[in-house]
C-alpha cells in the first residue's frame, strides 16, 4: 500500500510518541517480540524441498484456475517449481518445455484438504497407531499434530493418486475443546514429517465445540459435561492465557504459547462446530477474547446463518451430504454448500476421512448439483475453488498455492475428464512442478514402507 507522505510522517510520529510516552511500551514490545519468536520459532523446521521437475507445458486443456476463472483450450506453463504463465491457446510454449497434449482433459490447482487426520489416525487403524486425540484433558493447546504424524501412512498415497491432493492440514482430533496445533503438509512421500511440512505455513489451533468434548470428559465425570461447561472451560483458559501474555516473569508454557499466538493473530483457529446456535456463540467468544475464527469445520448447520458467517468473514468447511450420524448432524442438508455460496461465504469441502479425501472433487460436484436443483447455479470453475483456493485461504497459504496464478507453487492436477464427473480420475499430479503421480506410469505411484513386500504392493488402488 502506498502511504501519502503526510500520513506516513504522522504515523511515524505516533509510533515514536507511543514508544516514548509509555514507560512499559518497550517491555511490552519486547514481550510481544518474544511471543512472536515463540510462535515463529520452528524447533521442528520444514526440510521440505521441491523434487526435481522439468519445464512443462500443458496445452489444450480446460483450465479451472481455482478462483472462479476458466480458460477453454488453455495453456499452462511451469518451471523450477513455479507457475510461469496461465493463458489461452495463443500463449506460446517456450523452447525447452516438455509439451503435454491435454486436449479433452482438465487442469485444476492441486486439491487441498483443510481437515485431515492422515498420519495421526493412519492405516492400519490399530490402537498402536491412533495418535490423533490427546484425550486426557479438555484443553491441550500444547500438543502439536506434527508430533503424531506417521509419514508412512498409506493414506497419503491414496489421497495423491485418487484425489489429486497436493496439500493438506492435519488437525488433532475433536475430543478436546482445544485440541492442539495443526500442521500443514505437502503431500509428498517422506521419511520425516519435517520433510512434508509446508514451508512457512502458519499454525492453526484446532478447537471443538458441542458434543465431542462434553461427551469425552462428561463420561469421565469431569468438566465439561455440558455445552455451558464447554464455554466455561474455554473462556477461563483464554483469560489465563491473556494473564500469561502480560506476565513478564513467566516461564515457558507450551499451552499458553499457542494461545498467545492465536491472540496475536499468528496462529489461526479452525473450529469444529456443527450447530448454528453454537457457531454464533463461538463468534461472540472470539470477539470477547480478541481472536478470530478462520473456519468452522463440519459446519452442517452453517446454511442457517450464512449471513452471520459472511459478516464475520469466516469460512465454512462442510461435507457434501453426511447426515444424521450424531445429534448435531440431524439437520444436515445437501444444499448447505450452495446456500452458503449464495450468501457469499467462503465454502470449503473438507473430508475428515481417509476415504473422503480421495474424492473431494466428487463431493463438491454433488453439492453443486444439489444447489442447482433449488435454483442456485454455481459454475464449475467456482465449485473448483471449494477444494482448492478456499481451503488454502482458511489454512493461510493461499498466497502460495490453491490457484493457478503466475509465481505460485506449481501444484497442478491434470484430470482425464471433467473433475466434477464421477467418471474422471487424476491422470497426473505435480507438486511444486515435480511429477509425483502418473496414472500411465506404474513407477510414478508411491508405495509406503508399510506396504512393501505385502500383498498388493504397487497395485493400482
Amino acid at each position: 500500500m502506498k502511504v501519502p507522505p503526510a500520513l506516513r510522517q504522522w504515523t511515524g510520529a505516533l509510533a515514536l510518541g507511543l514508544a516514548l510516552a509509555l514507560p512499559s511500551g518497550d517491555a511490552l514490545a519486547r514481550k510481544k517480540d518474544k511471543d512472536k519468536e515463540a510462535v515463529a520459532e520452528t524447533p521442528y523446521p520444514s526440510t521440505y524441498k521441491p523434487y526435481p521437475g522439468r519445464p512443462t507445458a500443458l496445452v489444450g486443456a480446460t483450465v479451472y484456475d481455482g478462483r472462479g476463472g476458466r480458460i477453454d483450450n488453455g495453456t499452462l506453463l511451469f518451471e523450477n517449481g513455479k507457475l510461469v504463465a496461465v493463458g489461452g491457446s495463443d500463449l506460446a510454449v517456450p523452447d525447452g518445455y516438455t509439451r503435454i497434449d491435454a486436449a479433452g482433459k482438465f487442469v485444476t490447482p492441486g486439491v487441498i484438504d483443510a481437515h485431515s487426520h492422515l498420519g495421526d489416525y493412519p492405516s492400519p487403524s490399530v490402537d498402536a497407531l491412533a495418535d490423533g486425540n490427546e484425550a486426557t484433558s479438555p484443553t491441550t493447546p500444547e500438543v502439536w499434530a506434527e508430533h503424531s504424524v506417521w509419514p508412512q501412512d498409506p493414506g497419503f498415497t491414496r489421497a495423491l493418486t485418487n484425489g489429486g491432493v497436493t496439500s493438506l492440514m492435519v488437525l488433532p482430533g475433536s475430543a478436546n475443546l482445544m485440541g492442539g496445533r495443526s500442521v500443514t503438509l505437502k503431500n509428498v512421500p517422506s521419511l520425516t514429517v519435517q520433510g512434508m511440512k509446508f514451508p512457512g505455513a502458519p499454525y492453526s489451533l484446532k478447537m471443538a465445540c458441542g458434543e465431542n468434548p462434553k461427551r469425552v470428559y462428561g463420561s469421565k465425570g469431569q468438566k465439561p459435561s455440558t455445552r455451558m461447561g464447554n464455554f466455561a472451560v474455554d473462556r477461563q483458559t483464554w483469560l489465563d492465557a491473556k494473564k500469561y501474555a502480560k506476565d513478564e516473569e513467566r516461564d515457558r508454557d507450551l499451552a499458553n504459547e499457542t494461545l498467545v499466538g492465536v491472540l496475536d493473530g499468528d496462529i489461526l483457529v479452525q473450529n469444529h462446530c456443527y450447530r448454528a446456535d453454537e457457531m454464533a456463540l463461538v463468534i461472540d467468544m472470539a470477539k470477547e477474547m480478541g481472536y478470530k475464527v478462520a473456519a468452522f469445520h463440519h459446519a452442517v448447520e452453517a446454511y442457517k446463518i450464512g449471513d452471520l458467517l459472511k459478516q464475520n468473514d469466516i469460512c465454512a468447511a462442510v461435507w457434501a451430504d453426511w447426515y444424521g450420524f450424531k445429534m448435531e448432524a440431524y439437520d444436515a442438508i445437501p444444499e448447505n454448500a450452495a446456500l452458503l455460496q449464495k450468501q457469499g461465504v467462503c465454502v470449503i469441502i473438507h473430508s475428515d476421512s481417509a476415504n473422503g479425501i480421495q474424492r473431494l472433487n466428487q463431493e463438491a460436484a454433488k453439492a453443486q448439483a444439489d444447489g442447482r436443483r433449488i435454483g442456485i447455479d454455481i459454475p464449475d470453475a467456482e465449485v473448483v475453488s471449494w477444494f482448492t483456493y478456499n481451503p488454502a485461504k482458511a489454512m493461510g497459504v493461499a498466497d502460495r498455492t490453491g490457484s493457478l496464478e503466475t509465481g505460485k507453487m506449481a501444484d497442478v492436477v491434470l484430470w482425464n475428464g471433467n473433475p466434477l464427473s464421477v467418471y474422471t480420475r487424476p491422470e497426473k499430479v505435480w507438486i511444486d512442478g515435480a511429477l509425483m503421480y502418473d496414472a500411465l506410469d506404474p513407477k510414478r505411484r508411491p508405495v509406503s514402507d508399510f506396504e512393501l513386500g505385502q500383498p498388493g504392493e504397487g497395485d493400482v488402488k
Binding site: 492405516s123 492400519p124 491414496r158 442457517k304 476415504n355 436443483r373 474422471t424 493400482v460 488402488k461
Partner: protein
Amino acid sequence: MKRLSTVAAALAGVAALGLPSLASAQDFAITNATLAIGDGSAPIEGGTVVVRGGKVIAAGAGVTVPAGVEAIDGSGKWVTPGIFATYTDLGLFDVQEVSESDDRGSDQAPFNAALDVAPAINPANEHIAVSREGGVTRASVTPFNGNSIFAGQGALIDLGADPEAVTKARAFQVVALGEGGAKLAGGSRVAAHVALRNALREARDVAAMAQGADRQSDAMLTRADAAALGPVIAGTQPLYVEVERAADIRSVLSLKREFPKLDLVLVGASEGWLVANEIAAAGVPVIATALNDLPAQFDRIAATQSNVGRMKLAGVKVAIGMLANDNQPRYAPQEAGNLVALNKIPGASGLSWGEALAAITSIPAEISGMDGRNGHMRAGVLAPGAVGDVVVWDGDPLELSSAPLEVWIDGVKQPLDNHQSRLKERYKDLDRTSLPKAYDW
C-alpha cells in the same frame, strides 16, 4: 413444500403425521427415455417401461403402451429399476451416536443368532426417507454384532412410504469371522472358528432332536440361538459371513466340506481378488464395498478399488453393498460410477456401465433371493414380472449431477420429501424480519 389449498394442506398434514396413505399401485408407462434394465446390459435409447398392477409387464425398445395405461413422456430422462441397497442399517437407528435411538447392535443381550431385526424396523425413519429420495427402493437390513460372532437375522425391506416395510423377515443370518469375529469370540480367529463350528453342530443336534427332548448339559447356545441356526444348517437361510482376508475367505469356503448345505454369502472380501477363482469355483456370491482401497486393518492389506472388477472378471457374482454407517445407501450410484471410471486407469479393473448398475440393482436382489425363482419376488430389474420399482432420473443415474425425479415402489408413486427437504425449503432465504423461521412451514 409449497403452500397448498386448504384441503390439500389438510391432506398433507395427515401424511406428515405418518398415517397410512391411501396410495395404491397405478398403471403407467414411461416412454422415450434412456432405459437401463439393470441386468448388466447397456442403456437403451428411446426405451419404454410399462407397469401394471404393481409389476413390470414390459421394458425395452419398441414396446407399445397398452390402451388405458397412462403414458409419461420420459424424453431427456433416464429410467432404471430402483436401487437395491444391500447390507444396510436402514430403519434401525435415528442417530448413530444417540444410543437410545439405535437398534443395530445388542451387546448386552443374552441372545445372538435368534435376534431378528424385522420387528424393530421403523418405516417412518428419516434415513429411509432420505434414501428413498436418492432412488433406493429396496434394501437388506442387517443387525450389527453385539457380543457374539453371530449378529442375528436380517430382513429384506422396501422403502415405500407406508407402514409395511418388511417384505421378508429372517432373510439371512450374519456371522463375523476375520478380525471382528476373532475379537468377539475371545481373542483369536482360532476361537472364532471353534465358536462357529460348535454353534452349527448344536444347531444340527437341536434340529434332529425330538420335540421336548433335553439337550446335552454342555450346550453353550441358548435354545433360541440353536434353533435359529437350524435353517442355516439346512441351507434354507443364507449365512452371510463377514470376512476380508484372502486366507479367511479360504477358511470360509472350506466350511462347506463339513456343512455341505450352507448357503454362503461373503460380505466384505476386501482381498477377494486374490482368491477370486476359488470364490467363483465355489459359486459363492460376494457383497463388497466398492471403494475400499486402504489397508485399514491387517485383514485387508491388499485392498484395492479393482477388487470388484477383478472378482467379476473371474466369474464371481458381486454386489456393491455394505451401505451402512457413514456409507449411506444413496451413495450406491456414486460407488458404481467410480468403478466405471477405473476403466481408464491402466492396471485397474472396473465395470462397464451396465455391470455397474447391475451391481446396485439386480445382483444384490439376486443375492437376497429376490430373483423370481421358486415363486419368489423379482426385484432390481425392469423385466416382465418384476416388482414395479422404477426411478426416473434427470440424467445418467451414476453421475454426480443426477438425482431422481420420480420414484415408484410396487407401482406406487412415492413422496420424496423428508426432514432435509423441509429444512432446505425453510432456509432457502434467511429473511427473519417478520416472524421467526419457526413459523415458516
